[in-house]
């Protein structure tokens, strides 16, 4: 830290943080909207099962219903924790 650094420190841009958080949560909520009511429950039960084997973060489980040309596809993705070398 240089002696003049305190002159440069600006308050954090919290507005950008707000925008990014909203971008993610709104996208997630929209993808579940109109989908079956059981999605949130299904997600939490899946999470419980997965946790028996791997210690994943709740955020790591994404569940989504995709609709295209009359077909509905249930998408599930689980990001596994990084393996420590």
């Amino acid at each position: 830290m240089g002696i003049l650094d305190f002159l440069k420190t600006r308050p954090k841009n919290t507005a950008n943080i707000a925008r990014e958080r909203l971008r993610i949560i709104v996208a997630q909520e929209r993808s579940q909207r109109g989908g079956p009511d059981y999605l949130p429950l299904l997600r939490s039960e899946l999470l419980a099962v997965i946790k028996k084997y791997v210690n994943v973060d709740p955020e790591a489980v994404l569940i989504n219903v995709e609709r295209d040309s009359g077909q509905e596809v249930l998408e599930l993705s689980v990001t596994l924790p990084e393996v420590k070398a």
């Binding site: 308050p11 507005a15 707000a18 925008r19 909203l22 709104v26 109109g34």
Partner: protein, 270 residues
């Protein structure tokens, strides 16, 4: 043709009633015949903001329950010949509003030649909010540049797309507009508050207007005068612009920049 416009938000205290009063008044100033209805059963407030609280004899629920004729319950504005207020019931429980009853009142207003009906929604996503939006042709989604308000308004956008008569009948979507209120340009410039662009990007629907945060709104409500009638209020001017845009006119956005600070203030802060 009567156009029904719901003023809604999900979150409470964001400026729905303030907006309903000013938009209704602005449309009447432009010569339209307008009714503004308070859907907040149990928490009547629109009458105070419109300055007609002592003239409420019958309310919305009285009309729905057949205890008063619509004509008896419509309160004519003191300042505008073509503006009428229908107050919420202060005493009844929320179940006294029914979908059919609301539909009948709106139908009667249409028969009576009203151009616009403005529905001031209660907060939340329960029955009252649902009924306020059900018959809407257009929606003004009032949002503050703040995380919980933005998220709640996205829930409302979802309901507008699925739980309205237009959605159910496949009549074409309810036309959605964002109205950003309590906007503070200085805080936006300081990175403390999301900008119009941020909110528009997150929600992905067009902004009809941006109303600055201003003390004149409180002063106007103290006096029972819709802020759009305050000659020197920026918030009032911003509502006038929003009304013009609602009527299809183009108006540049104003009041998005913080007032420039003088040289000394810039150097010494303040």
């Amino acid at each position: 043709m009567t156009e029904t416009i719901v003023v809604t938000s999900g979150k409470g205290g964001v400026g729905k009633t303030t907006t309903s009063a000013s938009i209704a008044t602005g449309l009447a100033q432009r010569g339209h015949k307008v009714a503004v209805i308070d859907f907040d059963v149990g928490l009547r407030n629109l009458d105070l903001i419109m300055g007609c609280e002592r003239r409420v004899v019958y309310d919305f629920v009285n009309v729905i329950q057949g205890e008063a004729a619509l004509r008896q319950a419509l309160i004519k504005d003191k300042r505008h010949e073509t503006l009428f207020v229908l107050a919420a019931s202060q005493t009844r429980d929320k179940d006294s509003l029914t979908q059919e009853g609301v539909g009948n009142v709106l139908e009667a207003l249409a028969q009576d030649g009203f151009d616009y009906v403005i529905c001031d929604s209660p907060a939340g996503i329960e029955k009252g909010a649902h009924l306020a939006m059900y018959y809407a042709d257009r929606a003004l989604v009032v949002v503050n540049p703040e995380v919980s308000s933005v998220r709640d308004s996205d829930r409302i956008l979802g309901l507008l797309a699925s739980k309205t008569r237009r959605a159910e009948r496949g009549d074409g979507a309810v036309q959605q507009h964002l109205l950003l209120t309590r906007y503070n340009p200085a805080r936006v410039e300081a990175g403390e508050m999301m900008s119009v662009k941020d909110v528009e990007e997150v929600l992905g629907i067009p902004v009809l207007g941006v109303i600055p945060e201003h003390e004149s709104v409180l002063a106007a409500s103290n006096q029972g005068v819709p802020v759009i009638l305050e000659e020197s209020s920026h918030a009032g001017h911003a509502y006038t612009d929003a009304v013009a845009r609602l009527l299809g006119e183009e108006r540049p956005m104003r009041f998005l920049d913080a007032p420039k600070k003088g040289f000394l203030k810039r150097v010494f802060g303040g």
